[in-house]
Assembly symmetry: none
Homo-oligomer: 225 residues x 4
DNA sequence: AATGAATGAGTATTCATTCAT
DNA sequence: CATGAATGAATACTCATTCAT
């Protein structure tokens, strides 16, 4: 979830052969715009990522941004899509690499989410929790929904394997996302405070496992206020 | 967490003597401004709570708002403080009324938070998750931190009683807040969808109890990416 | 049709008593905005009447313009409505003052239109023929339609009186408007060229009378290309 | 006045020798640009005829347009010149084919103008009445002036023949153009409304004949306001 | 004290034109 | 020679805050 680096899911151009020089330049401009936007979001959140600032940072004219993206919202939408694809791929890869049972898979998923979010820092914070215009916020919600779906799948798999108790996995997935977001939100926002990431992640993983592995708690009766 | 009503913690400062008529009028004006702001937030979120709209709704001039509050952010800050005091009081009262053990106290705290948030609807949604200007957002974070502190106290009490396992209650409290927020966020935003609040609350309470009551999960080892 | 002067149809405030000082100031600001807009339209057409320029000319902030008019288009709409009301009133008054028969009434209507348009100069030109955004253009067309309706009424009256031959007065009114607009368009656009307005108006009146007073020409047969 | 077809006056300059292949290609490109611009004007008016859209429609790069035309305005200027030449030729041809007297010649001129304008539809509307940048509008006015000159010549001829009364033919020509434009402007703009073109043209011809054939109306006296 | 008219800095977007490849 | 990616000036509108009355 780092704005600066490209990794696992970073798009290799599907065409094996080289692009023309012009195409390469166009792609480079586009990438510099995306990179500039990611940097500014990482520094000041969406409020700081104004079109003219993005243009300056990318070293292009404002008009060029609109050659590549139909609107500011669409630019951010692309950032969300890119990040979502990459992050989801990472979590799925972490799950796939684990063959120690459902608990381990869930732990891997949670740990991967947290570790990557913590490395994403302010950028991850903005994408996960910052509001913006409705058009952009829509994508933030979709991004979160993506995680919800992803974690639900991992939970469903765990239930299928009979290793975690049957439960409403949609709500449970929301709970996991809530735990992760809320426990990480302060470290993500404050770059200064040096958190012991390893310890924090271990803690969050344990909380998440506890949440979904508990058995026999459904009898608790609650009377509304 | 309903904008319209004032209850438990909305206590008038217990000044023994009466206010002059002028003072009473001043307080009434101030209250009408706050009420108008709460209503507008409940209807359209922070974006809809513009100073001029608040003035119209309160039946005062815009200038008068600045006689009572130094800025729009300060007005919202007061709303946050009021709501925080009232809500925290409710959760604490619910806990105090429970003498069935730590689990029941935690369940009462969580259930009270959820039930009141659900009744607060769009207003609760705005206060809990909507961003606004940085100056206002600061208070939203403080509001959430307040809950975190509150739930930590309940957890600490439970640990003291030996009924729930020892753990980092600060992080656990954050986890509870995360679970509650994330599982409620959709129902809070969509007023149309008629949620079965009782069932939802029961589910959330169970998830929260599972999170903090689990024992012996701390051995899980995580290797960061 | 002069932007600077207020006459016959200029609104006397319907309320007989004085406005408060604040109301008077508000009205003065509003009027200065309208006056500034009319001046700029008269100087450079709609293209020159940009919101910021209007604000500078009126000696107000841009925001003030939006306190009085919901949009730039609405400001222009009001100008159109004001002018239409005043101009239509003048033409109708000229007709009413004439009791020498239908021909004289039509002559009075045409002469009044032309004389006032010529005095309006570049301003009249802009209102009558200049295109702008669709939202504004709509009002220009309505303005022209208003004249068309007005002249049709005068023609209908003439036919009722049996003094001018029966004909399609809607089309005839359009023809009159066309004659007037087209014969005046050059003098209206070129402020430099000193036209003999009296002679021009007499000519236009004659052409218009000829157009509507002719009898027995309907047998002309035309074969389309 | 149809954008798609080239006819009478679209004559290739009568160079006796063939062009080289390169020259032919260059002319073809130029023509395709002009054709694309005409199509777009016909579809959406000047506002829709953006340089990049013209390039796409013509199947060339935007840069190529500037190899053939120094600016967007110059491209439109050429369209105006082409259309003017063709249309003027048609009107003149219609007049030349008529030997039944001055009235018939004028009727032929008017009918030809109207019939062709109605067939030109939205394209004719744009060229005749739509404003654009000042640089382009200049050509619109010149186009209209051309018609004025043309109709003046027809009128002068009629006066020479002694068949229509002596009058200021310049102003009368403007009147004819005004009648035609104003009576046609609604049908030209609304493609939906199926107008009975034949009937409309007959009406317009009659109005025009009435305008210029009237005798003895010059005594009407007008007192300016 | 109360008012509300006035303020103006701040921002996303368009499109004719250019020029390096 | 043709291209089309890049350019950037230009412009309407918002809303928290102020201050003369």
């Amino acid at each position: 979830m780092q704005p600066q680096q490209s990794d696992v899911a970073a798009a290799q151009p599907a065409l094996p052969e080289k692009l023309t020089a012009a195409q390469a330049r166009r792609v480079a401009t586009r990438d510099s715009i995306l990179a500039a936007a990611r940097e500014l979001i990482a520094e000041d959140g969406f409020a700081g990522a104004q079109v003219s600032l993005i243009a300056v940072r990318a070293g292009v004219g404002v008009g060029s941004i609109y050659k590549h993206f139909s609107s500011r919202a669409e630019l951010f939408a692309e950032i969300y899509r890119d990040v979502a694809a990459r992050e989801f791929a990472h979590v799925q890869a972490a799950v796939a690499q684990t063959d120690d049972g459902a608990g381990a898979r869930i732990a891997a998923a949670v740990a991967t989410f947290c570790a990557r979010a913590l490395r994403g820092g302010r950028f991850a914070y903005a994408l996960l929790v910052e509001h913006s215009e409705p058009d952009v916020d829509e994508h933030r919600l979709a991004f979160r929904e993506g995680y919800r779906t992803l974690f639900r799948e991992v939970l469903d798999q765990g239930i299928d394997d009979g290793e975690i108790p049957d439960q409403d996995t949609d709500t449970a997935a929301a709970a996991l996302l809530g735990i992760m977001t809320e426990t990480l939100v302060r470290p993500l926002a404050d770059l200064d405070e040096k958190t012991n990431s390893q310890a924090l992640i271990r803690q969050v993983v344990n909380l998440c496992l506890a949440t979904v592995q508990a058995r026999g708690l459904n009898q608790t009766d609650v009377d509304g206020p």
